[in-house]
């Protein structure tokens, strides 16, 4: 847990327009040129079971194989190599978008894969923080929060579904729930919000409702002006800003399916609907089930199926709304899993991981970075990004440095949370 930092708090006050965060915020109503979605495979996925396959050759140190499928079954899709299902694992139907073959056949041309990323940790909390903020220590906002910060005045600028969603007070994260609650919120004066036929029947008549709302707004302004404690002034200013944003959730409801799906798919549906209706700029999606200390092959395969199925569904939603050229997706996890099995047929935490990107601005069918047979990161030449013995080891710092440049994070924001590391053309 991080103690409050004075400077960050002042920044937070600024969010409400009292202090200079307006420097980095476009004029109210500006349309974001790009939406960002991060998908977190929470718990630590196994890249060797996905996009950095090794096969079942026995390790020289006697610790057994990295995987339990033969290297001969490793497959390719364009320039990408992906894993086979381990022996004894029942794969999903090939009709399922979560099947490895189906997913990569459909999406390899959109996917940019970065292997051999060293998270320098094997602790969940630390790994999530590093992978999603670019900083091992506490205090930096997640990528999705940073992307939404210039549009913080939008009512749902940043949608969070858990995981690492620290915002450094740059933007208020929004959390979502079941579809019925959206109706209740979209029509706060309606007695029957979920019934379109009776929706107009309010607790108050329209004129009375308007009078109450106007009185509330005037009262809040009076309170703020007369308040002496800066903390309360800031809180009132934030409340005022959010209330004045004049948002209508009608648009969101129009883009939501009649029944919002469960799990990652549902998170995807809400995020894309919020983008399409102009309410949100970024979203962090979150899926658990990857912390496979026991029965790794079976459980990891199931989690990966759900992940790939969810990502495919996310892409379908994006296509449905015609946002292919506006939404960039980053997929990652806390870290990787050991290149050997423990006594419970599980795999423990390993600091090497992979990152995948797809969508707007991303050149697909591209592979960067590499690991050796024991799933250890290889050094890369900073200029060619090819393995080089005197090169550098990729870390999430490099990923975020490149992502910030790629997403054109405003310089003022970038300077608030500096990442002092060499710039690599990872997403260029």
């Amino acid at each position: 847990m991080e103690r409050r930092h004075f400077l960050r708090m002042l920044t937070g006050i600024g969010m409400a327009g009292v202090l200079p965060m307006s420097l980095v915020r476009p004029a109210l109503g500006a349309t974001p040129s790009r939406f960002v979605i991060t998908v977190s495979a929470s718990g630590g996925w196994d890249p060797t079971a996905l996009i950095d396959p090794k096969g079942n050759a026995l390790r020289a140190d006697g610790m057994g194989p990295v995987n339990k499928y033969p290297a001969s079954l490793i497959k390719t899709a364009g320039k990408l190599r992906y894993a086979a299902y381990a022996d004894g694992v029942t794969p999903p139907s090939t009709d399922s978008a979560g099947h490895l073959d189906t997913f990569f056949a459909k999406h390899y041309s959109r996917l940019r894969v970065i292997n051999g990323v060293d998270t320098q940790t094997n602790g969940h909390e630390t790994g999530q923080r590093f992978v999603w903020s670019g900083r091992l220590e506490e205090g930096y906002p997640s990528l999705a929060a940073l992307a939404a910060a210039p549009y913080a005045s939008q009512p749902m600028a940043f949608i969070s579904n858990g995981g690492y969603d620290f915002t450094a007070s740059l933007v208020a994260p929004v959390r979502t729930a079941a579809a019925a609650t959206f109706s209740a919120m979209a029509y706060p004066n309606s007695q029957y919000p979920t019934d379109p036929a009776q929706r107009s029947s309010g607790f108050f008549s329209t004129p009375t409702h308007a009078a109450v709302q106007a009185a509330r707004a005037q009262r809040l302004t009076r309170l703020r002006v007369s308040e002496a404690l800066p903390e309360r002034v800031a809180q009132m200013a934030k409340l005022e800003t959010v209330r004045k944003s004049g948002v209508s959730l009608d648009g969101l409801l129009a883009y939501l399916p009649a029944t919002v799906s469960a799990g990652l798919k549902g998170q995807a549906e809400i995020a894309v609907a919020a983008f399409a209706s102009g309410l949100a700029v970024s979203a962090s999606l979150n899926l658990g089930g990857f912390d496979t200390h026991d029965d790794h092959d079976e459980d990891q395969a199931a989690a990966l199926t759900a992940l790939l199925d969810g990502v495919d569904h996310l892409w379908k939603q994006i296509e449905l709304r015609g946002l292919q050229n506006k939404v960039t997706i980053i997929i990652g996890s806390d870290f990787g899993r050991t290149p050997f099995y423990n006594t419970a047929d599980g795999k423990d935490h390993w600091n090497i991981t992979s990152v995948m990107a797809m969508g707007a601005g991303i050149t697909g069918n591209t592979l960067i970075g590499a690991t050796n047979a024991n799933f250890e990161a290889l050094k890369l030449s900073a200029s060619t990004l090819e393995p080089h013995s005197s090169g550098i080891v990729l870390t999430p710092k490099h990923i975020h440095r490149a992502l910030r440049d790629f997403l054109k994070v405003p310089a003022e924001l970038d300077a608030l949370f500096p990442i002092p590391v060499e710039k690599l053309a990872l997403f260029a």
Binding site: R4, F6, M9, G162, V174
Partner: protein, 827 residues
């Protein structure tokens, strides 16, 4: 004139002597003499001497304020009995009138001062000489470039106040001798290391009480009656009773302390306490809301874990209840331990040293222990301490919930558990040590055991691994397994530079917790946890090298105040109830304004104003209206008995998560600022609750009404008497709902009256035209909300459906207006 000073000192000394006689404080040895809180300081314009011994009288804390810089003359600002635990920082000799202070800190310099008492209770400096403390030179030359001249975090931002190695002089000395300065530890060993350690502990681990006093003096505090209301709502989810209000009115702070003592015996207080501590521990991740057997699944080694399940074909109607209750009883174990310690006024150290677990009849059956200790085995609230066989308990740290919530692995080797122990129980963020972790390219990990051999790694692992290794007999699943092979290529069990004795018969984890609770940082950690929980604000971080004067002053003021609170808590045998009372009475919790607007920069974050959590808002509504916000309120009487039925604010499937709540699982951080969806939740709540609460209140006899005891549902604005009654009711509503005490002619009362009048007048014009004579359908009362009994029976129609004059709807508008108010939604 000396008599004037003596007249100030004498009665205080008498009070102090009385306290001593009662045995409530111990002067020597100081509780944490090395903390440096006793060090006199000069922080322009205040010279603060935490403890002066006055020959033959006792000790006082003296504040002198510079009156005339040219003549270096000071006036007495205050003199109060010195707190327990302070070391003498100066002497005052009656005969000579000389005040001698061997060491005064001013910024990063030190002086020896002698002041002469002058007529008129003034002190004038008669000599001031530079003092160089042992270790000061070495610190300036070898440490200050990184840690800052003031020790509050320099270029790398690592503060030395409450630092990870600041538990003991020996521990810090060893750290310096072995690892500092970075890259050249041989440069400061032996005497250099011990003196530098002593300097750091005595100088940086104290605070400027003078600066603190100035900053604190600017805070205007809530009056005691408002403090009582706020504390009552937060701690026990109800309004204070008439007798409690009377006691506070009659006895002031003492009365408030008495009332708080009473409140802290109520079950609601322990619910709130669990909420506060769960925000840190997150062990509620295993409640049945996160899976019906989320906790039971952790008990595979206990054959009777699922005692409630006779098999799918034989399950009775009580199966689900027993399953969920058992699961939640197991899940609540660590939080119930905290409750038990607090309820029984035990020292908080016991949360880590308890040699027992807290079980009730349900969880006891899962653990397979004798249930005869329970009075009622079916009472889910009857938790008792039980020693589990074969389990060397170490309080929370050995609980199944903690060990699974913070799991380990063969590669992690309990280091994650160690990090959490540092964070939660030693107030140390281990990841912030020594700046950023070296990049992979910069670290030589080619040796067999880099965490033992590479200086870059040893920096953190020498701290992290001894605690990690102390968990060595607790496996990934949270089971105690002994003997268990442990890694030799890492630092072995130990704490603060002391290794766990290999010949000891103690369990390493028990050995560890016994030492953690003796460390002053454990006290700091408990203060931090509770302060954050009660105020909704984390204590300020150390300001670092580039801090503005305001940042530094804010940090020092808050830090000094928390040190003071901590000293009182320690002196009271570390009972949490003492800490609760001190926080409630602290200026930070009671802050309501600033007497000096210039202090606004320093107090940018002062105050306990916070957006109510969804749970707190849920309970507040219930406390004020007598019913909860549920869906749907039409079915309140039937679904109120069901814990899980549509509690709109504290259930994640409704608004709990949207409104910033946590599930302790995937969502672990509360939202402290409203967002675009939360304001809709606020508005719906206000509208819906007004719709139910207003007609419901009018149904009650006048004497039992909470809102409208002064008016009827037909009272309009036709007469002066009616208008006065309406205004008086509005005054009451502002007081009852918002805690505002306003006069009849206050502009806010006028504004609310104008809203009532506008809605009433305009609404009446629309009745029969565009609006009905009846209330909106859901607002009509046909049944008793709480019992469901029909209001139309026995030939008497007691229903409330009509509102021909629009009066009820006008009051609904007023209540909805107030329920979405900042002062309702924030504490």
């Amino acid at each position: 004139m000396q008599a004037s000073l003596l007249s100030l000192i004498r009665p205080l000394a008498a009070v102090w002597t009385l306290v001593l006689l009662l045995g409530l404080v111990a002067l020597t040895p100081p509780v944490h003499a090395a903390s440096g809180a006793s060090l006199p300081t000069y922080f322009y314009p205040v010279l603060q001497i935490p403890r002066i011994d006055v020959q033959g009288y006792g000790s006082v804390t003296l504040s002198l304020v510079l009156e005339d810089a040219a003549s270096q003359r000071f006036a007495i600002a205050s003199a109060v009995p010195a707190s327990a635990g302070l070391a003498p920082g100066g002497t005052f000799t009656l005969q000579s009138g000389l005040l001698k202070i061997p060491t005064v800190r001013s910024g990063t310099a030190f002086y020896a001062l002698t002041l002469q008492l002058l007529p008129g209770d003034k002190f004038q400096v008669v000599s001031a000489t530079d003092v160089v403390l042992p270790g000061q030179t070495a610190y300036a030359q070898q440490c200050a470039s990184c840690h800052g001249a003031d020790g509050l975090g320099g270029a790398v931002g690592v503060t030395l106040k409450n630092c990870a190695n600041c538990g003991t002089l020996a521990g810090l000395t060893a750290k310096i001798a072995g690892t500092m300065p970075l890259g050249n530890p041989a440069a400061c060993t032996g005497t250099c290391a011990s003196e530098t350690a002593s300097y750091i502990l005595s100088v940086f681990n104290g605070t400027s009480a003078a600066g603190s006093g100035k900053a604190l003096a600017a805070i205007e505090m809530l009056p005691l009656d408002a403090t009582l209301r706020a504390a009552s709502l937060q701690l026990v989810s109800r309004l204070p009773s008439t007798s409690e209000q009377a006691l506070v009115a009659a006895q002031g702070e003492a009365g408030l302390r008495t009332v708080l003592d009473g409140m802290m015996t109520e079950p609601a207080f322990y619910n709130r306490l669990s909420e506060i501590f769960n925000d840190w521990l997150l062990t509620n991740r295993y409640l049945s809301t996160n899976g019906s057997e989320a906790a039971i699944q952790l008990m595979r080694r206990y054959p009777t874990a699922r005692w409630y399940d006779p098999g799918a074909s034989s399950r009775g109607t009580d199966y689900v209840f027993n399953r969920d209750t058992t699961n939640d009883s197991v899940a609540r174990e660590p939080l119930e331990l905290i409750n038990y310690v607090v309820r029984n006024n035990k020292p908080m150290t016991e949360i880590l040293t308890a040699n027992y677990a807290m079980l009730n009849g349900f969880s006891a059956r899962s653990y397979g222990v004798d249930t005869s200790v329970f009075t009622n085995v079916s009472d889910p609230n009857e938790f008792r301490p039980v020693k589990l066989s074969g389990t060397p308990h170490a309080g929370i740290l050995s609980s199944l919930m903690f060990l699974n919530r913070y799991p380990t692995s063969a590669t992690n080797r309990n280091r994650a558990r160690s990090r959490v122990v540092y964070d939660l129980f030693l107030d140390v963020d281990i990841l912030a040590l020594d700046g950023a972790r070296p990049d992979g390219t910069a670290v030589d990990i080619s040796s067999t055991a880099p965490t033992l051999e590479n200086a870059d790694c040893v920096k953190c692992h020498s701290l992290l691994d001894p605690i990690a290794s102390s968990f060595k007999n607790w496996n990934l699943a949270g089971s105690f397994v002994k003997p268990r092979t442990w890694y030799t290529d890492m630092f072995q069990a130990g704490f603060n530079g002391t290794a766990f004795p290999v010949t000891s018969s103690e369990e390493p984890l028990q050995w560890l917790t016994a030492r953690i609770v003796q460390d002053a940082r454990f006290d700091s950690a408990i203060v931090r946890l509770l302060y954050t929980g009660m105020t909704g604000q984390e204590p300020l971080d150390a300001p670092g090298a580039n801090a503005t004067p305001a940042e530094t002053e804010a940090y020092l003021a808050e830090s000094a105040h928390l040190d003071e609170i901590q000293a009182k808590y320690v002196a009271a045998n570390r009972t949490l109830k003492t800490l609760v009372k001190e926080i409630v009475l602290s200026p930070y919790w009671r802050a309501d304004g600033l007497s000096d607007p210039a202090q606004g920069v320093v107090h940018a974050a002062t105050g306990a104003a916070r957006l109510l959590t969804p749970e707190m808002l849920h309970r507040k509504l219930n406390a004020l209206f007598g019913f909860e916000w549920r869906g749907t309120l039409n079915s309140y009487s039937s679904n109120v008995k069901l814990l899980s039925t549509a509690r709109l604010l504290d259930r994640r499937q409704y608004f709990g998560q949207i409104y910033g709540g946590i599930d302790s699982f995937t969502i672990t951080e509360r939202l402290s600022d409203p967002n675009g969806l939360m304001v809709f939740v606020q508005e719906r709540m206000a509208n819906e609750m007004a719709c139910y609460a207003v007609p419901n209140d009018f149904l009650a006899p006048k004497s039992q009404r909470r809102l409208f005891a002064g008016v009827e549902k037909t009272t309009q604005l036709a007469t002066t008497q009616d208008r006065d009654a309406v205004k008086a009711t509005i005054v009451h509503l502002h007081k009852y709902l918002l805690g505002e005490s306003l006069a009849l002619n206050d502009p806010e009362i006028t504004a609310t009256y104008q809203l009532f009048e506008a809605v009433l007048v305009e609404g009446r014009k629309r009745v029969g035209v565009s609006e009905l004579t009846t209330l909106p359908a859901l607002c009509q009362r046909n049944n008793d909300m709480l019992t469901g009994a029909s209001l139309s029976s026995g030939g008497v129609d007691g229903r409330l459906r009509d509102d021909p004059q629009y009066v009820i709807r006008a009051w609904m508008a007023v209540v909805a207006y107030l329920l979405a108010d900042y002062r309702f939604l924030y504490a």
